[in-house]
């Protein structure tokens, strides 16, 4: 039986002094090594759920647990995000003034790696993403697909157990979308990582081991 890596218990999240209810009692379990898609219409709360799972935010009520430990009450969310989670965003979020090689090293600053080790590891990850010849480029010198591959390399910098991707193909054409999803699923399989992807794309949702649909802040079974 596989390990329950991430869990939410009766999680709610509200904004604007409770006037906006983004999540309304979400119970979810994600196993280690699982590929889960979270889909639903815009404003349904799927990105909010991803933020809570990734320790970017805390629930209004309920709990998010990582390996059975609650992420609230003094849990070091910075360390959790740095060591356990890799993020891939729809708009890449690369730092425009840093070269590709430096962008990938950003998460490694919270580790004990030396500058040389950081650089070597970043170069190896970029090589793995097929960007070995682009190490010294600035992000604006790359295509959208290449930028997302840099972002994926960055998400893997600290060997996380969980990869969280928020609409990773949202800004890409179909060819690049397919390449990025192949990369992500390949990584998930090779490293036995937990991959959680937020998506609007029914094909991506179908390709996941499990498609969790959200509507109006609740998990919904059609």
């Amino acid at each position: 039986m596989s390990e329950c890596l991430l869990e939410t218990r009766a999680v709610t999240k509200s904004f604007d002094d409770g006037r906006i209810q983004a999540l309304r009692g979400v119970d979810l379990q994600v196993q280690a090594g699982e590929f889960v898609a979270i889909s639903g219409p815009s404003g349904s709360g799927k990105s909010t759920l991803l933020q809570l799972l990734g320790g970017l935010d805390v629930p209004t009520s309920g709990e998010v647990l990582f390996q059975g430990v609650s992420l609230s009450n003094g849990f070091d969310l910075d360390a959790y995000r740095s060591r356990q989670v890799g993020f891939v965003f729809q708009s890449f979020h690369l730092l425009p003034t840093l070269r590709v090689l430096a962008n990938v090293q950003i998460p490694m600053f919270e580790t004990s790696l030396t500058a040389r080790q950081r650089e070597d590891k970043a170069a190896a990850l970029l090589q793995e993403m097929g960007l070995g010849g682009r190490l010294r480029q600035l992000p604006n010198e790359l295509s959208a697909g290449e930028r997302q591959r840099v972002a994926i390399a960055r998400s893997l910098a600290n060997d996380p157990r969980i990869l969280l991707a928020d609409e990773p193909t949202g800004n890409l054409d179909s060819e690049n979308s397919a390449m990025i999803m192949d990369l992500l699923t390949g990584i998930q399989t090779r490293h036995n990582m937990t991959l959680i992807v937020i998506t609007h794309d029914p094909d991506i949702a179908r390709s996941a081991q499990r498609d969790i649909r959200i509507r109006d802040g609740r998990i919904w079974s059609p």
């Binding site: 910075d78 995000r81 740095s82 003034t97 600053f109 919270e110 600290n158």
Partner: protein, 365 residues
């Protein structure tokens, strides 16, 4: 470099810091030179102590105190002196010293023209710069506050303060300034230290003996007097005051630049926080940028201040006091202040940046 994104803003910020540091380097440097000249003034004559009333601007020490001073076993010689800032012409004012004709303080002076003055004669000696400014030579006459004096000599002193000064017989200056028998100070040379007595003990024991013999008067070591006299203190506080205003403007420039930089990079800070950077690391990044601005501005200011000192060293009115070189200590002080300004000015933007919620920051357009 994030600061390179807004080059004009960064350049203007650097200019602000540079002006502040240049003002500090030039003005405080000039004040230090001024203080050094005061010290030279005492050291060149071998004065150990100055016996004064309340302050050295008060010419209120009774001339009869000299006898009591000379009677003390620690005192080798004690000479009265008056120091007065006087208008010699409508354009030229200068320090005028009154001294006895046999004062030991006249001994180190090099007579370039003429001779020393005689006691109780309306005679005056001019420092070489003052003589040049007045266009006077030995043998000329000079009218000071309605009284006619004969310029009997032109001298070069150990201190630039003497080069721009006039010296006349003590009695003449007392009459000219209507001081009666009052003097500004007695300058005292002490006897050498006794066997087993340290230099510090020699000075302290002599001070105690003098102040006990002359209640109400103070015996001030030469170094303290050079450092703490009111003219030096005024020059120092004016230099620091002006510099601080300029430095404050520079600091506000850095604070503004860093606040705008943090505001413009809100989303990037959100990315760093999302990728696990701790608050202190974000804060350190912003503070390092602010300190870097301070350092570069400081280096530019150091160059500017050095240039200003070079100019002051070329102007006749300030050439004698000004130094065209900057001491390592002064340069380090300037750079330290520049970096500290960067850190202080960058603190609030850094603190605000570090406290950004990753989600809020990532949402920022």
């Amino acid at each position: 470099m994030n600061l390179m994104r807004r080059r004009l803003r960064t350049a203007l910020t650097l200019c602000g810091v540079a002006v502040g540091i240049a003002a500090f380097v030039a003005l405080v440097g000039f004040a230090k030179s001024f203080e050094a000249q005061w010290l030279k003034l005492y050291e060149s004559a071998g004065t150990d102590l100055a016996v004064v009333d309340k302050t050295f601007l008060n010419t209120s020490v009774d001339g009869s105190a000299g006898d009591k001073l000379r009677a003390l076993p620690q005192v080798a010689s004690a000479v009265p002196m008056i120091m007065n800032l006087m208008d010699l012409t409508p354009e030229v004012n200068a320090l005028v010293y009154g001294m006895p004709a046999d004062s030991y303080e006249l001994d180190p002076l090099i007579i370039l023209q003429g001779r020393r003055f005689h006691a109780a004669a309306p005679e005056v000696m001019l420092g070489e710069i003052l003589a040049e400014n007045l266009g006077k030579h030995a043998g000329d006459s000079l009218e000071i506050q309605g009284a006619s004096f004969r310029v009997v000599g032109v001298f070069r002193g150990g201190s630039a303060l003497e080069a721009g000064a006039a010296i006349m017989p003590l009695r003449e200056l007392q009459q000219l300034a209507d001081l009666g028998a009052k003097v500004t100070a007695f300058h005292v040379r002490l006897r050498p230290a006794l066997p087993g007595q340290s230099e510090e003990q020699r000075i302290q024991q002599a001070r105690a003996a003098i102040e006990a013999a002359l209640p109400g008067l103070k015996a001030v070591p030469a170094r303290d007097r050079a450092h703490n006299n009111q003219v030096v203190a005024l020059a120092r506080s004016t230099a620091w005051g002006t510099s601080l205003i300029a430095l404050l403007i520079g600091a506000l420039g850095i604070a503004n630049t860093m606040a705008m930089s943090v505001f413009e990079r809100t989303r990037e800070i959100g990315v760093l926080r999302a990728l696990g950077w701790k608050r202190w690391r974000v804060m350190r990044l912003i503070l390092l940028e602010a300190a870097f601005l301070g350092l570069v501005g400081g280096l530019l200011g150091l160059a500017g201040g050095w240039g200003a000192l070079r100019v002051l060293a070329l102007i006749p009115a300030t050439a004698a006091i000004g130094q065209s070189s900057i001491s390592w200590l002064h340069a380090c002080e300037a750079l330290l202040i520049a970096v500290l300004i960067g850190l202080v000015a960058g603190f609030l933007p850094a603190w605000r940046g570090a406290r950004l919620s990753p989600v809020e920051a990532l949402r920022c357009e």
